[in-house]
Assembly symmetry: C2
Amino acid sequence: MTGNSTSVVEEIKPKRRSRIREGHETRILVAAEDVFAQFGYNGASVEAIAERAGMSKQNMLYYFSSKEILYHQVLKTILDMWLEKMTLLAQAGEDPAAMLENYIRGKFEISRTHPNGSKVFANEIINGAPHLKEYLRERLLPQLEADLALVRGWIADGIVDPIEPEHLFFTIWASTQTYADFSAQIELSLGKESLEADDFTRAGDFLTHIILKGIGLKS
Amino acid sequence: MTGNSTSVVEEIKPKRRSRIREGHETRILVAAEDVFAQFGYNGASVEAIAERAGMSKQNMLYYFSSKEILYHQVLKTILDMWLEKMTLLAQAGEDPAAMLENYIRGKFEISRTHPNGSKVFANEIINGAPHLKEYLRERLLPQLEADLALVRGWIADGIVDPIEPEHLFFTIWASTQTYADFSAQIELSLGKESLEADDFTRAGDFLTHIILKGIGLKS
DNA sequence: GGGGAATTTTACCACATGGTCCAGGCAGGC
DNA sequence: GCCTGCCTGGACCATGTGGTAAAATTCCCC
């Protein structure tokens, strides 16, 4: 450090301790993601999270004043990253096949790099999404609608088969997330200790092939 | 044929009372499936399960002496039904396209009729399958191996594209179960209160189309 | 190096939960 | 009648957990 007149971060006021604070907060968030993924919301004790983060429970509660708040933060962090990549389809301005492939590969990449986040999210949805139904409605639906419109356009233009685009997305979501969420089952089936980058690549190859050819895009 | 004078073992005598017992046990199992699905293992209190089953906690514990035992029973019941249908592929002796379609439709049917069981199962797998890893290894793997061999045969015969059959099954599993496990998200996306038979049919249409055409089967 | 905020620790509580104990109720067989 | 297995409910307990209050300590900036 030894910088000049402390600056740069300009978080209004809380700039002094913010380095410690930020470090600890991210450590806590990572630990919480781990523990929530493995034990679910109810099964995760704040003590276990604090321990994994390397501090006392009380100290952790100093940064996140309740388990509920911490959980919300974890969910939000994950979902924001999620939704950001979710736009891939509407953004990569190439031909439909390339757009879909990018979308699929992108989702696989998230599953590979953030399996714990995916599991927390999955747990939440399975239990009826009590914490983020509204958030999904506000943020996921608009993006989905845009993507659906795009695919419907392709169908109207005769570029792809007349399938129901909703189910296309459900299938892509499910098939990509399963390699994160159900990794235990996949690993068991493949006889591996853990999934590696290569496995995700091959899964991506398969799904891309199936989807593109399946909707009539692959020549 | 009524009981002998000396109660030799427990197996024979319980005939009159066993009607009550059986009724209560199934009621408890159904209730437990519900509650475990919605709240996970840790989030489900035995009191909540008992209440949904319409009896006192103490009485429920008379039939299933612990939460753990009850959970095991729920998991086992679900999984047995699962695996039974899992064989569909190896059993329906028609052409590959029909076999695959039957398999896919069968899995959708389970998702539609047993969403809660599916959710309990999903929760368990996400958390690393601590309770049933061994059971899966013993019962799921052999069936999967047989199915994989079948598909590899089709590939060798040039009937389907040279894809990796493992990923074919992972995709089918994921895409069918998602309509049970992630129903909250699907319902939200479709703007429906709940999924109906028709929705599952259309999802089945889509997945069948994609898979068959995707692996080069659809004529 | 002193002031005061930011951080960490010590001690503790209220409460839900899984599970036990025990007293009693309800049938039929003698 | 009454004895004996099956069933049911009330009271209770040990434990783990989320959360609080406040003292103690560290750390930055002047």
